[in-house]
């Protein structure tokens, strides 16, 4: 009995990571209505009401990989924000509080909102595993790009600006050529872990 219990426990634990929903391009992006670090509500539907596309970026205040992209994320927002693309960071890490997010955003000069995803509900809905991890959604709520911002933690080594390439293609009315990418990043620290 003890062995059986161990076995069941083992498989239920092992299955956890695989249980995270994995969104595919073309899927409906889950709606969210979260609070920015300044207390203002930001929803996906509101972002898309005034913009052609929304870029959702799961980020962290502590993750060195996410932090390596602070400047690049702000530059992307400054460049594409005025072209009808809304940007929002989402912080789902359980140990990173709204006050930490506010201080970090101020320190790094973010002019895009950073929303707190309490209890990682939205990270779970998107199946987001790491920081930084980004999603691009169109006005119909369909996911058009998912993955990394670019292909190197070191800005000077970047060879493929995947997120910018996807946004350029969309703004030019074309399909996104590379719609799914991956990169090593920090695991999102979820509740119950």
């Amino acid at each position: 009995m003890k062995y059986l219990l161990t076995l069941v426990l083992a498989f239920s634990l092992a299955a956890f990571a695989g249980e995270l929903k994995e969104l595919k391009t073309g899927d409906n992006a889950p709606q969210f209505d979260l609070k920015n670090y300044d207390g203002k509500a930001v929803s996906l539907s509101a972002m898309l009401k005034q913009n052609k596309y929304a870029v959702i970026m799961f980020i962290s205040t502590q993750c060195p990989v996410s932090n390596a992209y602070n400047g690049r994320m702000e530059k992307l927002f400054e460049s594409y924000g005025k072209k009808g693309i809304a940007f929002a960071g989402i912080n789902a890490n359980k140990e990173e509080l709204v006050a930490d997010i506010a201080a970090h955003a101020k320190d790094k000069g973010f002019t895009f909102p950073v929303l707190k995803d309490e209890k990682n509900v939205i990270a779970d809905a998107y199946g987001a595993q790491s920081t930084p991890e980004v999603y691009v959604v169109n006005q119909k709520g369909k996911l058009l790009y998912h993955g990394r911002i670019d292909d190197s933690k070191k800005e000077e080594k970047v060879q493929s600006s995947d997120l910018a390439n996807a946004l350029d293609a969309l703004l030019a009315g074309k399909n996104v050529t590379v719609a799914q990418t991956k990169a090593i990043g920090c695991s999102i620290k979820r509740i119950g872990e």
């Binding site: 161990t6 990571a17 987001a128 595993q129 190197s152 990418t181 991956k182």
Partner: protein
């Protein structure tokens, strides 16, 4: 058991001693622990090796070539996005039997490992 870590990843460094303990306990029972750093290879001697030395790692470990990160990630799991720490259990046939993303405890690894070692007997 394949684990992917990096020197910049605090949870990875917290978790590694548990994996090394499992290796000491179950190496003779059929567990092979493969440690792969995802650090920049340029940091091998300056950053990676000192951490491994501190942890008492006296066996061969590996470092990911940064030219093949996506291939590396997909090779370990099509359902793995690349978040670390990440640890994978493979059986003798090379079939993946478990995936752990994020910092996990010694007991969680052990609970997954023991039934597999018993099955493999």
């Amino acid at each position: 058991m394949v684990t992917v870590w990096a020197t910049w990843c605090v949870p990875c460094r917290v978790e590694l001693p548990s994996l090394l303990k499992l290796r000491r306990e179950y190496d003779s029972s059929g567990l092979k622990l493969i440690i792969v750093s995802s650090d920049d290879p340029d940091l091998l001697m300056s950053a990676v090796q000192p951490v491994l030395d501190t942890l008492g790692v006296d066996f061969v470990t590996y470092i990911e070539r940064d030219t093949s990160e996506e291939v590396f990630i997909n090779g370990l799991g099509k359902d793995w996005g690349g978040a670390i720490p990440a640890t994978f259990l493979f059986d003798r046939k090379g079939d993946r039997r478990a995936m752990f993303v994020g910092e996990k405890s010694y007991d969680r690894f052990k609970n997954a490992l023991l039934p597999l070692l018993q099955q493999a007997r």
